[in-house]
Symmetry: C2
Subunit: 189 residues, 2 copies
């Protein structure tokens, strides 16, 4: 159950980026937050901050993808809007239990360097793609045609991201509920 310093650093990187943004998070801060030896950062991540953050982003993308893939386990009558509610659910829990400090790491990264085209940008793109792909796959599993499944996946993730922004800013989860309730007609048709 004890995670290695390396894993802890990746995890801490993700959490801190979620809270303070990409440029707002320093490597020393990450190392300290992970209770990891400072020298180990250099050893495990010779690619520097970009490598560490890149892995953290990919990890987060996987996490979101896996969560989406677990939707069928929760119901015997899967629907698109049910899937969306399932995607929103952990965010409601996060905010209710842990406060509004942490947002979405992908959004945070795109905000800082969405326009650039670096190796790190590629990893952010990959992280988002995994997530979107997983959501689309669930929709296809419900019988939705592949092209529309991707359109809906983009719509769902887009709306969720924006709703997260509202929720954090207002320190209130109701925007998330509003999104679920109001987006529904776009998903059921």
């Amino acid at each position: 159950m004890e995670r290695s310093p390396r894993e802890r650093m990746v995890y801490s990187a993700a959490q801190l980026v979620r809270a303070r943004g990409l440029a707002g998070t320093g490597v020393r801060e990450i190392v300290e937050h992970a209770n990891a030896p400072r020298g180990s950062f250099q050893h495990y991540f010779p690619g520097g901050k970009d490598q560490l953050v890149g892995e953290a982003l990919l990890w987060a993308g996987d996490f979101a993808a896996k969560w989406a893939a677990r939707y069928p386990e929760t119901t015997s009558d899967p629907t698109p809007s049910g899937l969306f509610a399932h995607m929103v659910e952990p965010w409601k829990e996060e905010f209710a239990k842990r406060g509004y400090e942490r947002g979405c790491p992908v959004m945070a990264s795109v905000a800082d360097l969405g326009g650039t085209d670096t190796p790190l940008t590629g990893q952010i793109r990959a992280a988002l793609n995994r997530w979107e792909q997983a959501v689309a796959e669930e929709l296809v599993r419900m019988g939705i045609p592949v092209p529309r499944a991707h359109h809906l996946a983009i719509l769902m993730i887009s709306t969720l991201e924006g709703a997260i922004m509202f929720a954090r800013l207002h320190h209130d989860v109701t925007p998330l509920n509003t999104a679920v309730a109001t987006l529904s007609p776009a998903l059921t048709s």
Copy 2:
């Protein structure tokens, strides 16, 4: 037509925050970008970076609000999904003409300090509120009940923000078109 150094700094602050994020933008960079005297920053903004950025955010919120309010001028048959398309339009133009460097300043700010509760956070909240209010007012003008108008406004802005993220990351405007087309059923019912 010549804008004052003060105005130029506010404007430059907005543009740079849009591109590099809040923590990723330095005051010296803003001053230089604005071709403003460095000493003037201290004079016009004794509140420091927070004051400057706060004004930039409010300016951006006003800008978005005014754009939404101009929707009725563009059509004789206003509809919610028409309004949404109107909101998306300038972003398609921005990306097509100026590239994907600049995103939404509100989103960028929330990403960096959405969890905190500082005076600056309050101004971000105010900026977003102005925008949301303006959108809701347009919806009310179409005969939509006030509560639902606010729900739809939140939905529209949320989806737009997320779609902007997609577009910047993929260097492609189609997520914006996808959002407009796919969100429509949620707006027309």
